[in-house]
């Protein structure tokens, strides 16, 4: 018996029992779709990881204050001076960018006023960091820092390129709305009691195209020279430590250099902090891995759903196979009488089930691919990171399910006594 004929008989039977076939077909395809989704997620993670690394550089470190550290009173904390010292000692570094951010100041322009914007004190090196913006005017420059000028750069939200369904309740804040509709470049704004000139406006990429899934600064930042920031803070007399910075971002260039620089930076800072290790140096690659851990967990759950669905589909196939066998006992007898061997019968039912699995798999791939495409279309995280072998693997799983779950019924069919089968009505 040729393969094609067995498959054709299988198709015949599948068609003859539409509802039954459709149900197992459905669960197989849901299972396959879930599998495919998992594959795309897992692969998408690698793609994202590499993309993010390309954007931030492979040699990125971030120095942060240790949150739970109990100071012995020796260390001045993580300061702008630390950043300057590192810059001086390691001039070859691609970037040493301190960021100060401790307090906010009321924003006022014309009649509009808001507490929303967050004030950041930065140096020109900030612009070396994950630059994904479009700039009008200019960024903070060395002169601004040197003379502690009252200038600022405003950051505008990018909005959505295409608003995804889940963001319908995502409202732009009043401040964002104001900023989006008023061109403040070269205007004077008030931050607290101080007048600033807006020398630049940077606009974020649309939210759904933003590759910086790893670190989003929420709120609407306004950047001012770090020296200006410290000066105002001192003047405002509100306590806090004006010298302190929230973080120092460092780019050592290449990934291989990271461990060595980690050690050197640690030594320098320990000395400056008089032996107190009140800071931590984070390798960005570790940070990505951590964030991806959550996604991996999600993928695992989807995978579990997929496996359950495939199992349900398999049981459906088993049911279909059993049912077809019972309704075709006579046929089995006839086939045996005209010379079919046991294994011909076995093969026939196995192939029918595998055909069912195959088409369930095809439908599942269509379903899954459609869904993944739909999701991927609306987010920057390329979900559609599917490779050809993913399709092959899912299809193989579907066909394999058909096979595994029909082995027992098909075997039973092949063991039927031909005489009794013929007598069966």
């Amino acid at each position: 018996m040729r393969l094609w004929e067995l498959i054709r008989t299988g198709l015949f039977e599948i068609y003859a029992h539409k509802t039954r076939s459709f149900l197992s077909f459905l669960s197989i395809s849901i299972g396959v779709a879930a599998m495919l989704y998992t594959f795309s997620q897992v692969n998408g993670m690698f793609v994202q990881f590499n993309k993010a690394l390309d954007l931030v550089g492979h040699g990125r470190l971030e120095i942060e204050r240790k949150e739970d550290y109990r100071s012995r009173g020796l260390s001045p904390g993580l300061t702008y001076q630390d950043a300057l010292a590192l810059r001086r000692l390691m001039p070859e570094l691609h970037m040493v960018s301190p960021v100060a951010q401790q307090w906010s100041q009321r924003f006022r322009y014309g009649g509009f006023s808001s507490e929303e914007p967050v004030l950041y004190g930065v140096t020109p090196e900030w612009a070396k960091r994950d630059w994904v913006y479009t700039l009008r005017g200019r960024f903070i420059n060395d002169d601004d820092v040197l003379f502690a000028k009252r200038v600022c750069v405003m950051r505008m939200p990018g909005g959505w390129d295409e608003k995804p369904w889940w963001a319908v309740f995502w409202e732009d804040s009043k401040y964002d709305d104001f900023a989006a509709h008023n061109d403040l470049l070269d205007r004077q704004i008030t931050l607290g009691d101080n007048l600033f000139t807006v020398v630049g406006v940077i606009k974020e990429p649309p939210r759904d195209k933003d590759p910086r899934w790893f670190s989003r600064e929420w709120g609407s930042p306004i950047y001012i020279p770090i020296s200006t920031y410290q000066k105002i803070m001192r003047l405002s007399n509100r306590g806090g430590k004006p010298d302190e910075v929230r973080e120092i971002n460092i780019d050592v260039g290449r990934g291989e250099l990271v461990p060595a620089y980690q050690r050197r930076i640690k030594a320098v800072l320990l000395e400056r902090h008089r032996g107190e290790e009140d800071f931590k140096i984070i390798d960005f690659r570790d940070r990505f891995q951590n964030i991806l851990k959550n996604q991996r967990e999600t993928a695992r759950q989807v995978m579990a759903v997929g496996i359950v669905a495939i199992l349900a589909g398999g049981i459906g196939i088993m049911n279909v196979t059993l049912a077809t066998i019972y309704s075709r006992i006579k046929e089995i007898g006839i086939r045996r009488a005209i010379g079919a061997r046991r294994r011909d019968i076995l093969l026939q039912f196995l192939l029918e089930a595998m055909t069912l699995g195959f088409f369930g798999g095809i439908a599942g791939i269509a379903l899954g691919y459609g869904g993944i495409w739909y999701l991927g279309r609306r987010s920057a995280e390329t979900l559609a990171a599917l490779e050809l072998w993913h399709f092959a693997a899912t299809l193989a799983i579907a066909v394999g399910t058909g096979f595994i779950f029909s082995v027992i019924p098909a075997y039973q069919a092949s063991r039927l006594d031909p005489v009794e089968a013929l007598r069966y009505e």
Binding site: I338, G339, R342, D344, V419
Partner: protein, 224 residues
Amino acid sequence: MIRFEDVAKIYGTGATGFEALGGVSFQVRAGEFVAVVGPSGCGKSTLLNILGLLDQPSRGLYALGGREVGTLGDGERSQLRRVKIGFVFQSFNLLPRFSALENVALPMSYAGMGMEERRARAAGLLDRVGLKSKSLQTPLELSGGERQRVSIARALANSPDVILADEPTGNLDSRSSAEILGLIRELHAQGKTVFLVTHDPGIASSAERVLSIKDGRIIEDRRR
């Protein structure tokens, strides 16, 4: 060509066992026409099923073409059945969803024959039984007589030596019966060995050999 020695078939075991065939012995030469007669339930179908290698004797020896076949395994019996035996049943036993042509071609596909050859051969066989014009109809669209002709064509698919017809005219009117019997006689004339189970005394009396069975035993083996 066919030799039975003390062949018995017992259904069930021990005290509850039922002896459908109780020690049957006979020999049949190639090309003989054997009518098998006897009351209902006497074991005629059982005999034919053993002859056709569908069933295995519980005891005794069955030699086909000089070879002991009663004790062969399922695979070998299926293979022999495929090439040496053609069954014709009272209830036709055609596959309802397949066309006449496909039904006739099915045994050939189990024998591994190619698609083209099968089609040509099946069409030829249908022509031979006078159903050329209905080869694409399914059994449900055919009359009883036509169905039986399809099943005779199917029995001839792999050119078997032996035709086993179990009451082939049992479900047919007299005119169709006559046609079917005509076809079976033709096969005999072409040299096939034929076993024909029948209730019709007229048919029995015209056969060259008649095996009369009662309660699983041969009570008369008459040659003309």
